[in-house]
Amino acid sequence: MLDLLQNSIDAFNNSHPLIRFCIYLSLLFIATIALLLVYLKNLRDRLRIKGRIEATYQKKYESDLIEYLYAGDDKNINAEQQKIVDYLKQCGENRLKRKLIIATLLKLKNEISGETADAIQNLYYKTGFINSATSKLKSKKWDSVARAIRELTLFEIKEAHDEIIQLINHPKKEVRNEIQKYLVQLFRFDGLEFLNVLENPLSELDQIQLLEILNKFNNMEVPDMNNWLRSTNNSVISFTLKLAKIYNQYGAKDEIIALFNHPNTEIRIEAINVVNHLGIFEAVEILKEDYFTRTLEEQIAFFKMMEEMSMPDDVSFIREHIQHDNFHIRISVMKIMNLITVDSDNTFKVNTVTPDFTIDKDLTIAS
């Protein structure tokens, strides 16, 4: 056995340097595999117990918090309550534990109301969690900043407004999005003030999120939108058009009609759709005047609008497009003609024969 080992060592020493390099590399690979396997085993074990640890702590914090809430008055806290506050403060130094405490506080806050909910809010101040959140607003790590803003939003900390609004043009869109949600969640329509100073585009996702937040609140006074409709930021205009549509802002009609000549095609189309929704009849003649200079998408939007807003006077204009190359325009024309001429001229559908689509009986449009 020893001879074999000695022979192997001799063979190794006498071998070509490339062979020696390959052997070293193989040994390195084997060692790497061994280390990775140990790490993987450890990782899987940790992940398996992580859930159990989290559940245990969550239960513990929940019972501590309930004990705090029922141990006495929230304004003049007793020794027992102070002990819990100190304990939570101490736990809050650990990232995972802080996360669990915050989650528990929010869970309780959402489940209860009145003075008890206020007590939880006050506890957020007493434990100093608010300070750690506001201090993170100055962090260089964008995710820490975004996480802090989210926390301040969930605890409805309006005092952080001045500090947060300064970050509105933050280079990271995730941070900007958290700020926008903070402003709208806490200040409703007043929070949309950021639209006046926003330099970066507001993505469609951002817009959906903001509209969903606003949708939760009722009986709000809708602010004047004219300034935003004149914004140099196209995404602000696009978002305002959605607001105008959802909140039926008929008063903004002049500014919306003015957008028919906006350099951006998408905005022109959105403006036509809003006009359609609001039923602004004076827009029909304006669009008819320069119909032929508009893009195909605008023409389709126009005819979609005419499905709702056409009058018998429009028949000759509409009839001109009965053989239009575009499928959507042809469909709109047929729908409009069917609506307008159904009493006087019911032969329309029978007379229409175009080569690349078929109509058997009634139209059924996929929803």
Binding site: S15, C22, E174, P201, K242, L363, T364, I365
Partner: protein, 476 residues
Amino acid sequence: MIQNLPELLINFFDYIFFGFAMAAISSYIILAIISAFETVNYMKKNSFVNYTEILSSSISPSISIIAPAYNESLNIVENVRSLLSNHYVNYDVIIINDGSKDDSLEKLIAAYDLVKVDYLINNQIETKPLRKGVFKSTNPAFEKLIVVDKENGGKADALNLGLNISTNKYVACIDVDCLLLEDSLQKMIKPFLEATDHKVIAAGGVIRIANSCIIKDGKLLEINFPKNNIVRGQILEYLRAFLLGRMAWSKLNGLLVISGAFGLFDKKIALEVGGYDTKTVGEDMEIIVRMRRHMEEKKEKYRVAYIPDPLCWTEAPDNYKIFISQRNRWTRGTIETLKKHRKIGFNPKYNSLGTLSYPYWFLFERLAPIVEILGLFYFSILIITNNVVWSYAILFLILAYLFTVIFSIITIITEELTYHQYTKKGMGLQLIKTAFTEPILNHPFILYAALKGNFDYYFNKSIKWGEMTRKGMSNI
């Protein structure tokens, strides 16, 4: 000089094969590193997204799920139920019965109270004609469902009819037997909604293998690790491709393929390029390349997005015959697409598409199996001519094997750190075992299939798709 010729040739080939192997290994390492960074970034960013806001909003864009079906009678009813149970608000499901010879249509009619309706179809792409027509449900619970029965024309033709029928802005093209998770659409639509300075033309998701998993009523209840070695190997192979490959290509905006099992497209662009190519067996890759080429030629900023979340689960081949047939088709699809779009290759006019993605696919997907076979052939000649230095050969073989194992274990670790799907006790060990056995049990068949794919492409043009016998995920 002539006397030294054999030695010169041997040296020349040694350098060629060694150089190719080093280039391939380097590219895998670079892609893995980029993937790691991008995955961390994605997970961090994604922790701030509230998907419920996307799914519940009435202004979220509309999506059509297009699912072609051919002789899927065994599971069609359950599969459609799964598609209808998606949590997204603004979507419809278009099932294209592509000339099935079985009773798929009758089963759908009975299960979903379907009746024939008159329907206007915008024939923007030429397809095979309708057979029995278009059906919708009389039951309001299934109002999102549209079933179309047409003459058989293949998957691409069926998808094209779906594109013609859809009235929505986006289309999700999927295999009908795939199981989509309930939040899959809102996750897939997110990159389209986030884009502000560019257009997202398509998005692809991760495909996971559902063999042995427990599925009930179209929902994934339990993830299990199959016993079949071929399937196990494919699980690891898919994890490697999706977690360590495509994530990097997404970062480099160089994705050339979105799995045909589940992809979301901007319908307008898909129609502008003429829809799916019915003449190729690799239509999923071909349409992406064509859409990208179209955007490059229009000089518009665009991206093909990739979502690393496991959103779609599918049944993988569990025997070598079907496995080889599937890989054979993939090979032919790659050859066809690269050949059709050869103008792009190494052409700086097409930016990263021409100078990075195409060359990579050409060298390491198209040529890799050929180089490997040539390598084996060359090795055989060296053995016959007694020119093998066995110590070198064995050591290089060991190194290649160990590198593959390391790469697979890193993939498993990445999976644990990100999505941690294989949670059951013992599954970790099974995955590790697979990392050691897969290069021996699966790779030779992949190589054979690729070689056969090349042969069939050049000498056996009549072969098209091949059959995939389904056992049905719900019955696994």
